[in-house]
Amino acid sequence: MQNFSKNYNQPEYVDQYPIAMAYVPWQQQATVFEDLNAAFYAGTIFPELEKPFVGRRCVK
């Protein structure tokens, strides 16, 4: 029975992953924003997860 508690998220397991499946690397850092009010508007308390959309509206 495969041991699911092992954390397959470590980079060295990448070659064991079945092909054609999507993978999302897990969050590593546990640093947290100081200003939680700003984090509330940013939508996350973790700096590494703050990814504001900086693209532009589709311009004709």
């Binding site: 998220n9 897990w26 969050q27 546990a30 509330f40 308390i45």
Partner: protein
């Protein structure tokens, strides 16, 4: 007096929402890092903070959750008499 009372209420309510958000975010982090003691302590701190803020809000304005009913004065069922969100309540 009325306006700063409303501001105080809105400020406290906003704080409860921010603390609630922080708690949810940390819960999700802990789901993938179940042995991070520091994160657990962080969560416990904010859980206590939320509990206290909800009790304070209930005492001053009215219960936000049924769990806070004991924090309100007993001779009125504020759960029903406090203004509904569409009546300007929260």
């Amino acid at each position: 007096m009325k306006s700063n009372m409303v501001n105080e209420r809105a400020r406290l309510y906003h704080n409860i929402n921010v603390i609630g958000f922080v708690i949810v975010d940390m819960i999700e982090y802990l789901d993938t890092h179940p042995y991070d003691k520091e994160a657990i302590e962080y969560l416990n701190h904010y859980l206590a903070l939320k509990h206290q803020a909800m009790a304070e809000y209930a005492e001053k304005y009215g219960p936000l959750s049924i769990g806070n009913v004991p924090d309100t004065d007993c001779n009125e069922w504020k759960w029903a008499t406090q203004p509904m969100p569409w009546e300007g309540g929260f």
